[in-house]
Amino acid sequence: MNEPLLRELVPAVIGVLVRRGADFASAEDAVQEALIRALDSWPDDPPRDQKAWLVAAAWRKFLDSARAEASRRGRELAVEAEPAAGPVPVADDTLRLYFLCAHPALPESSAVALTLRAVGGLTTRQIAAAYLVPEATIAQRISRAKRRIAGLPLDQPGDLATVLRVLYLVFNEGYGGDVDLSGEAIRLARQLAVLTGEPEVAGLLALMLLHHARRATRTGPGGRLVPLGEQDRSRWDTGLIAEGVTILQAALARDRLGEYQAQAAIAALHADAGTTAETDWVQIVEWYDELVRLTGSPVVRLNRAVAVGEADGPQAGLSGLPRYAAVQAHLRERAGDLERAAELYAEAARAAASVPERDHLTRQAARVRQLLRR
């Protein structure tokens, strides 16, 4: 069974149920249960029309629970009649789901969980495994999120920036479990790009594709981190790079720059270079200037300093750089100050936020200290 293909149907099926009169929370529950049944029974007994099967199964679930609810309350609900599907375009339903699930009123963690389930069609168990969190915790996040958005009007256009932020978060944390969150984020961004045609959506999609193209080369044996400069560029996925660049160029041509397009442009310049030395650092610095203007983020300033160091030499990079050990260490080493570089690498290792990063920086400190002993 092609599970990703099956999951592609999920938002459309939720859309059908909502159009037939189900509230979002019940529709989402019903589709999730139908999905779990499908994952269970389809391998042995595949249906001819997958979407029709899911709609029928989910609608039955919804009617069952609505009837149970109705009898609990001791009154009748008018859910028996099944209205014919109207001429409403499916695309609008799906787009509305994106905006609803990644609503600005939700905490980020809840928006991520709800998007992955209602739009991405992942089960609660899969999401929990991907984030190394107990299943009950994810279930709570989802049910709280659904309660939170229950009263929100659905006819207002949602906040696209929040939707993009959620997809970016999913992509950027795309690690644990057997679910490929990066791949999932790309799939959802692709779908969103088709639905909206906004240049920033295209920018985000291009950014993801360009980074995904380098995925196989980013880690070495035992999960050790391989920095950009040392990656085996012959193993970069040229198909993904070409696709990312094409999408990015079309987006940039529309002259509505945003942070994801600028980030994608930087990734494209890296992807375009045969070696670190051949990289067009001057143009990369210009894109970082745009990014600083768009976001003002301190992380962007740091990365800009690295690029300036490459473009104009380490001293230029160091000047005006906020104190940040890993970048300083890199630039000190390039400037020939090995003693200080080793200290700074060790300091950066102590401040690292992940195990591969800490190990990488510790290895760097050890490497520079070895140079010093020679």
């Binding site: 905490p107 980020e108 963690s109 809840s110 991520v112 969980a113 984030y131 190394l132 969190v133 107990p134 009950a136 915790t137 994810i138 709570q140 996040r141 709280r144 970016y168 992509f171 950027n172 944390e173 795309g174 690690y175 644990g176 990066s182 950014l207 980074h211 995925r215 981190l225 950009l228 980030q263 930087i266 990734a267 890296h270 990365n303 690295v306 690292a352 936020a353 992940s354 195990v355 591969p356 990063e357 800490r358």
Partner: protein, 135 residues
């Protein structure tokens, strides 16, 4: 989201404000304390922020390899160690501020006379997976 460890010490933390040991409380005070801890965990479960909570026995020994083919060495119980972990809670929250807020609430668990213990809890961020987008 980020995961944090809330670490509770038998020994090794600075003295709490309400510094009467648990075995000198009244049974009702002990019950109230246990109920507070359970309610706190239940609240985190329902807010989707709970990962794990465990308590450790104070008994334990040091274990060390004594070389290949030989039985490991044990030593202890560790009577004179300055630090002794009592237990932990692991949370998964949206921000550092939220982690501090929760640790603060947990530190105010009721102790003797039903007053908050105001004990020191150690709050430690987990090392996570590295991000995909790095430059």
């Amino acid at each position: 989201m980020a995961k944090y460890l809330l670490l509770k010490h038998y020994r090794g933390a600075p003295a709490p404000v309400n510094n009467i040991p648990m075995d000198q409380w009244t049974p009702d005070e002990v019950d109230a304390h246990v109920k507070f801890m359970n309610d706190f965990a239940a609240r985190l479960e329902s807010s989707g922020e709970f990962i794990d909570g465990q308590a450790l026995s104070p008994d334990g020994v040091w274990v060390r390899s004594d070389g290949e083919g030989r039985a490991p060495l044990t030593d202890g119980p560790f009577a004179e160690t300055k630090d002794l972990i009592a237990g932990w809670m692991i949370i998964d929250v949206d921000s550092w501020d939220r982690a501090v807020e929760l640790a603060g609430e947990l530190s105010a668990a009721p102790g003797a006379d039903g007053k908050p213990i105001h004990e020191w809890l150690e709050l430690r961020p987990f090392l996570a997976a590295p991000p995909t987008v790095t430059e």
